[in-house]
Symmetry: C2
């Protein structure tokens, strides 16, 4: 039954994708404006429905951080609406001719950007993702199947209801934005194997969700968001700058994928840097877990285990390790990192060059915080997540990453000889 | 045991990939020249080893076409060597700055092309693929794990032995080119799940192989090469041109993915076109399978079944269907096609525009043969296969498609506020 409903949704999504793919940027922008207006007009209804989710989460004894992510209020709905309006001003990548040239026998080859088709998104209890993802998909001419968490079902239903109603009135095909209301594991699994209708599946959430999708999906996947990020402080570095960067990368926001989880320090900088950084970090409430050498310079902290170096804490916890060389730092990062964001703090030009060349990650920084790995900070104007895979998209995914290309070849009777 | 060997190969490949990724274009080109020379110098040895594969295939009663693809001679080895030398002249995509701009707080963002890392290739009994794939991977700074078919094992061993020996003398890391000698299904399955070492897996072969990889792989996959391609002859078209195109697309080479498998003809063109095309196709030995309307105009042919429309014949067989409209043709193609290459023959400008916009395929043609979907014909100079998926690469994959990007961000102490 569930599977039938899902397949029916997939089919409708595909049909709508063919219509969306032909829509002009102007048409899509008019729909986006209508969606933004509807969110604001119907904010009372959405907040009311969201209230039921929040109450249920409270009753289950959910953590405050969880309830904070789940909850909606007037401001947050205004933000969601603003997110949709911001999309209006961005350039539509669909139709862009990436390149054009003459091939064999002078066939005219154009490489043109087109929508992916139907995008599936599996995500956790953050209702703002529902509107954001729907908006980005619409802007790029893709249909979207949104499969949120059961904890946010009432909120997601309300948002999608409001968006669809307003969208359809503005000319949006009915299947363009759909919520998968079945939040069972089975429905998620069925989605992961719906190759006939889904062109790509984007899981947005914790490591467990991502792993499950990678393990089970036959649909092409864009892996997002796990970030075991490092800050490496080189032998010759501006130590105050290094201190500011690690404080920012660790504490500005802890629950995010571009936050730092391990600090690596060159042996020659350890004596001067570690007491300074240790004090500053502990003042911010960070629990440190150090290698034996670290513990020499910052007494009374926990000793780090192998597991600590592997862990994305997403919390006020930081593993710290003293290394003998730049090479050891790079090896550590390439071994334990998740290929997300990595930074060196150095005044040595050659070391900066070497670090950026040899560290294998989506974003490699010299003398800046890893927290900048973000579509907004990069200037993309919108972001669908941060890809940690190498195929298709790497790093923050903007509008262009939600498209693919098509070769259009025009001839006058050419055949291959 | 097998799995251990394979993991060891994966580990060595990964280590070599880090070295290859740092090599200059000049260094890689010197190695390519050494590989080409070695293939020619050792052609006698390679042909001798290949002879054992060919003899075994003959003994098993393999088809002539199979033996033709398997067999090597002096000319074919010269071609393989030339393929490697051709790569020397192509621009190295590694290191190319795709874009660069200033992000938040003036961080300097560069989007730079880098190798994928370790590429796995699972392919059938075509020993030339061994040298081609090794060369393309080397040129783009990737290590490669080659898993060919058991039927070509002696040939592949010889080729890889010669390439590695010459390569290492020229400075190539030892794990850059490796053959997976275990040709069991288990080894293939293990490769498909070797996420810790393989960055991408490219299956090159028949529909069964591709399906198995899609079904079982957890490693990111680039799907290649199944092509159920159509030629649609519109109501108003140059019928002689249409005839030339279908003859070329169907018969110039039958066993390839960009050959046509179904001919669609607008009802208004049927009477004039079908007898003409039918005669020409049958003269070339093509067996036609038509819809009832087709059979009216070309008597004495088989009636087409639903299965015929779904089949990639890869043979001198063509399904033929009369359609009532351009829309019906587009719907048929989007339903039965494999999103590879599709062509319209028309003199109607609006129909040409509509066909290219609405047909969902890697390459969409107006008035030219689908046989042009090929890296060589497109002018890429080298080709790793033809992607029929939408993520990462679509259509012929050249050197650029064998790379990914990395964001390199340079700052002077920026932290996120």
């Amino acid at each position: 039954m569930t599977k039938e409903t899902l397949l029916e949704q997939g089919k409708t999504a595909k049909e709508s994708a063919y219509i969306l793919g032909q829509m002009s940027a102007v048409q899509k922008n008019e729909i986006l404006k209508a969606l933004a207006k509807a969110l604001k007009d119907r904010s009372g209804y959405i907040i009311e429905c969201n209230g039921r989710d929040v109450a249920a989460a409270r009753e289950k004894g959910a953590a405050n951080a969880f309830i904070d992510r789940l909850g909606l209020n007037q401001d947050r709905i205004e933000d969601m609406a603003k997110g949709l309006l911001d999309l209006v001003d961005l350039k539509d990548p669909v139709g862009e001719v990436e390149a054009g040239w003459k091939g064999a026998k002078d066939i005219e080859i154009n490489k043109v950007r087109v929508p992916l088709g139907v995008v599936g998104i599996i995500y956790e209890a953050r209702p703002n993702v529902t509107a954001d993802a729907a908006g980005i998909c619409l802007k790029t001419g893709n249909s979207v199947l949104l499969r949120g968490s059961s904890d946010a079902l009432e909120s997601n239903r309300a948002i999608v209801h409001v968006l669809r109603e307003a969208g359809e009135r503005a000319g949006m095909p009915a299947g363009a934005i759909q919520l998968v209301e079945d939040t069972s594991r089975e429905a998620a699994s069925a989605m992961m194997r719906m190759n006939q209708y889904l062109d790509v599946l984007i899981p947005r959430g914790g490591a467990g969700l991502i792993r499950s999708v990678l393990e089970n999906a036959t649909v092409p996947v864009i892996e997002t968001g796990t970030g075991n990020c490092h800050i490496y402080v080189d032998a010759v570095a501006d130590l105050q700058m290094a201190c500011d960067i690690i404080i920012n990368a660790k504490t500005q926001r802890t629950g995010v994928c571009n936050a730092a989880e391990t600090l690596l320090v060159h042996r020659e900088a350890a004596e001067a840097f570690l007491p300074l950084a240790g004090r500053a970090l502990m003042d911010k409430g960070v629990q440190l877990r150090g290698c034996p050498e670290t513990c020499r310079w910052i007494p009374d902290i926990l000793e780090a285990t192998e597991t600590d170096y592997e862990t994305e804490f997403l919390d006020l916890i930081l593993a710290v390790k003293v290394v003998d060389s730049l090479e050891e730092a790079i090896e550590h990062i390439n071994r334990y990192g998740t290929k997300h964001s990595e930074a060196i703090v150095t005044n040595n030009y050659a070391n900066a060059q070497r670090f950026t060349a040899q560290v294998d990650a989506a974003a490699v920084y010299v003398n800046a915080s890893t927290r900048f790995t973000d579509g907004g900070q990069f200037g993309f104007g919108a972001e669908m997540g941060i890809s940690t895979q190498k195929l298709h998209a790497r790093g923050p995914m903007g509008l262009k990453e939600m498209t693919t290309i098509k070769y259009i070849i025009r001839g006058n009777g050419q055949v291959r000889g």
